[in-house]
Amino acid sequence: MRIKVTKENCTGCRLCQQICTIAHYDEINPKKAAIRIEPQFPEPGIFVPRLCVQCGKCAEACPEDAIEKIDDAYVINREKCTNCHVCVDVCPIGVMFTHADAPTPIKCDLCLKCTEVCNTGALTVISKKSAATK
């Protein structure tokens, strides 16, 4: 499965960011979320959600082999990660995020919590099969 982003539906509410940090850090702090909302205002007036598409480039580059594929997601192993940020530099779409208080870079692990709270269809789950036929 993967998360499908329909940016036209995003209203910029940031519920996805809150639930993301609650799920991963037991904290409320949108700046630590694995999803970013890029508002483009005043023109054209659109919110662009940005998050990992699970391409695996980070895992290939990681010198510690700390990014492991678990089911459909590449997940940072917090035990192995040395916070060297090589993955941040190689991420082709700039969605390996950082925060001064986070022990490792921040990336989406497909927990799907964000899709459960999103009420506009901006973030939805699609199976791999339907993704492939797209």
Partner: protein, 638 residues
Amino acid sequence: MDGFGGTILRINLESGEIKRTPTPEDLARGWMGARGFVAKTLYDEVPRDADPLGPENLLIMAPGVMTGAFAPCGSKIGFGCISPATNGHADSNMGGMLGAEVKYAGYDMVVFERVSPEPVYLYIDDDTVELRPAGDYWGMGSLDLEKKMKEDLGEDFQIATIGPAGENGVVFSCITHDFGRQAGRCGVGAVMGSKRLKAIAVRGTKSLPVHDLPAMTKATYDIIQRTKSHPLMEPWQKYGTALFVGWANEHGCFPTKNFQTTYHEHWESISGEKLAEEVLVTHKACFGCWMNCGKYSVAKIPGKPDTYVEGPEYETIALCGGSCGMKDIHHVAYANWLCDNLGLDTMSSGNTIGFAMECFEKGIITKDDLEGHELKWGDIDDFENVVRMIADRRGIGETLSYGTKGAAERLGQNTIAFASQAKGMEFSGYDTRWYWAQLLSYCTSDIGAHHNRSWAITADVQIGQDTPKGKAPVVIYLQHIRPLFDTWCCCRLFWGELDVTPEEHVDTIRQLTGWDVTLEECMQVSEKIWNITRAHYLERNGGPGRQFDVAPARHLDEKIPSGPAEGHAVGRENFEYMLDDYYYNRGWDKQGHPTREVLEILGIPYVADNLEKIGLLGKPFEDGVPKVRGEKLKPKAM
């Protein structure tokens, strides 16, 4: 302290000194944030003879206990000061993203003191707090400046700005954020301008301390899932507050041509549906809101630039649209953008310009006053000319810059009779001649005629419209429940429209703070706020209090000439009956003065002492004040 940022900032704009103090828990629990913090701080600190636009006034910015929490839309932040429009306590709040950002930076209140010698803006990046020069920004439009500051500082910063109107001291200037969210009312933008504070930029990257995060997460998660399928969710998501345009016309409360009548023949051309069809760019939510009532729009008018702004909301459509006789949603959206970029409250602007249009119709204002322009109903070019004159305070714009009451005092000729205002604050977008509880709400409000102090329109229908009976206790209850949302700083619409109960909100606060707080305790905080702001108004303006709680002649005497509410007016006897009933049920005397008994119940005996010193403490009730003050009624959703 769980649930709070932990720090109060005091910024002396004259000396540049910045002080940090820990947020006291007795302030936090006793006043809960935003409107409560503002009410207490202004009452305790501002000299009673301070000029609202002078150095002794304070400008306060404060989020509330729920701001930034995983709660039903904890987005709000309050701004407060003494209002240049009413000369009383003022607070006005906004949604958007600013409140949460301030909280994540660790602040519960920022108090601006004195006046800066040069234009400045406040820069907050977590613990870094600086006053920075804003000379290059001075004179810029609110929206233009937000764009510029996002470019200068980065998208991560949340920005609040004032426009030229605020710099120039127009008494209904607002503070703008997020390309169209405002602390709109009371002239908070004029006070910010008087302090030469052009903008506030904030980035917060800290985590919010929460007492019981798993419990709060579960409760809010369940509320999200439950309300997703609420029957009103979809219409609210589609149309936002503009949904109400149709209802208001069908029920005869839509201000039309300066409240001359209450049904707009062309309402369908400025309705929520028309907004969605013609000008909508995107749906836009405040922080943590899954209902996204915000509508971001573009106005396309031949010969004018395309303009983007969040809105128009119901109030803007009612007042810039209906009250100014507009018939085109693009024109309303353009008027919205003009007001926002100039830094003017769309509500008071629409009301005041509608008033000026009636003056033009009657020959009281002429082309000579308007630099050769006219001021015709529904004419967007005329609207643009006069709104720019107001922002610049040029010619007749100077007269109108005081709002309808101030303008009527300057124009004379009994124009005050058709100035729809209370205490110097313009009516919101609801005519009251068939909605008497709403008139009582407007006239007894601490900040003047603002609907959000107690929105009683559907409550009027529930109680029965053509009677003064039973209105006052319900208005009091609504005046008590509404401050909860303004202090907690979560959006009232989840209660009003989606049936999230106040008890559920209180549960969130318990989970957030660890306090054993109850709804009853919160309601008492509300009543305390209502009483302290009343006392503050009396201490600044003298007595008797009853002389200030007056309704405009149009709404008392003139029968509605057309539409579903044709033939209705409130009548003076009915209004006086409601006022007597209101004071009694508040535990105030017949002059509207709070009594010692009530102030002591609320835990603020020092306010009674202050009122006693100036002879404005209410006469005691022989049999004691009513035990239950206010009568519970949940207004029907639209």
